[in-house]
């Protein structure tokens, strides 16, 4: 059974935000208006952690892409009263929107604030309606959503592999953020496959995970010379 994971090379990442945009388009993530954004209700599946270092005027800006970490020991699934969020056999932390009752316990439990809530019925400008991704359903008001590692892409990749009666090859299943990254800083693959790029990167001396001491065991690895 594969175990899907991501590696983000911060030494390559320029913080450009292409991954954020690609993710929003791929997953039909709602766009909130300025007023709602001011209430901190921006909807992002791929967020950007921004860290300011140093004293004015010598400020250094660090930008770190942050999807859902698809933890191997996810705190969010333990608090869900309806089994709408759970970890599947392949290690993906799923969010089944129609099952979700919007209690937001999972949001509170996630130490990485990876989940977002639909405070409003999503509204789309007419120009947007024609470029929705039909593979990802639109969420409704009152449910929690988050990065799925583009699980809808996995379904198609599996289908293609089954049709040709072969295994999924390394790099074949890749989420939109990884595909779009102009610096090629995002890698995706199977941790169980010792030949995969992600497995090798996860064992790099540069590799670390966010808040490792919590025991959540994220499946998103960061790579950096510093820190």
């Amino acid at each position: 059974m594969p175990k899907w994971a991501m590696a983000i090379d911060l030494d390559k990442c320029t913080g450009c935000g292409d991954c954020m945009a690609a993710c929003k388009l791929e997953n039909n993530v709602a766009i909130v208006d300025a007023e709602q954004a001011a209430d901190d209700r921006v909807m992002l599946w791929m967020d950007m952690m921004t860290i300011y270092e140093g004293e004015y005027p010598n400020i250094k800006l660090k930008r770190i892409p942050k999807p859902c970490f698809h933890c191997d020991n996810p705190p969010c699934i333990k608090v869900c009263p309806v089994h709408a969020t759970y970890k599947n056999e392949e290690g993906l932390v799923a969010q089944i929107y129609n099952r979700c009752i919007g209690c937001r316990y999972c949001m509170a439990a996630c130490p990485y604030t990876a989940k977002v809530f639909n405070w409003y019925e999503p509204e789309w400008a007419d120009e947007f309606k024609t470029c929705m991704n039909p593979d990802v359903s639109l969420r409704m008001k009152g449910v929690v959503e988050k990065c799925s590692f583009c699980a809808h892409r996995l379904q198609k990749v599996k289908e293609n592999a089954r049709a040709d009666d072969r295994e999924i090859s390394d790099g074949e299943y890749s989420p939109a953020c990884a595909d779009s990254c102009p610096a090629e800083a995002i890698f995706f693959g199977d941790l169980e496959n010792k030949e995969s790029k992600v497995f090798k990167l996860s064992n790099s001396p540069r590799a670390f995970r966010e808040l490792e001491d919590l025991g959540t065991i994220p499946k998103v690895f960061y790579l950096s010379e510093k820190e």
């Binding site: 799923a94 089944i96 129609n98 359903s137 379904q155 049709a163």
Partner: protein
């Protein structure tokens, strides 16, 4: 009428009220069981049996993507006009309707009989080509239909999907079907 009077009236007529209530419930149940849900009426009384037997067509000749894509698709004028253009092939008034659509270039507004909601991923290719499941398992004996089905012969409910998946030892992980 004050409360005490009302109570008395109810008490006096309790039998009648009970019978009336029971009648309403029974009627509702009969309606539920025998009352026809909204029958689907197609714009043209299309005949599957005729086209498969006389015109020697196979399912994929019209449902073009049933083997290669998720959606089978319902054929429209560009497919029908391969054979139906100019002189009618039959005396049927239904064909006259079809020829009108074709001449005016208007699309035939077929109604979908089978559907799953947008949050469910169903792939014909996965089931028909890879899983080698026959159409009849989910759509009934279509080649014998002389007119469009007015009701789905099989319901694409989660229960029915999972029933077959369990029988065939296929996954029933929520994430396989829900996106």
């Amino acid at each position: 009428m004050n409360v005490i009077d009302l109570r008395k009236t109810i008490k006096k007529n309790s039998k009648r009220i009970l019978i009336a209530l029971s009648a309403v419930i029974v009627l509702a149940m009969v309606w539920e069981i025998f009352g026809a849900p909204n029958a689907i009426i197609q714009p043209i009384n299309y005949n599957h049996k005729l086209h498969i037997e006389k015109a020697k067509l196979t399912c994929v000749d019209c449902h073009l993507f049933v083997e290669t894509m998720a959606a089978a698709t319902i054929p429209n004028i560009e497919v029908c006009s391969d054979c139906h253009s100019g002189e009618p092939l039959s005396k049927s008034p239904e064909e006259v309707k079809l020829l009108k659509y074709i001449e005016s270039g208007k699309r035939i507004p077929w109604k979908k009989i089978y559907s799953v909601p947008a949050h469910v991923y169903f792939s014909h290719r996965r089931h028909v080509t890879i899983g080698e499941i026959k159409c009849i398992q989910c759509h009934g004996n279509v080649q014998e239909l002389t007119e469009p089905a007015s009701h789905p012969l099989w319901l694409a409910t989660m229960k029915n999907c999972i029933k077959c998946h369990k029988e065939n030892k296929v996954t029933y992980d929520c994430l396989a079907c829900h996106h």
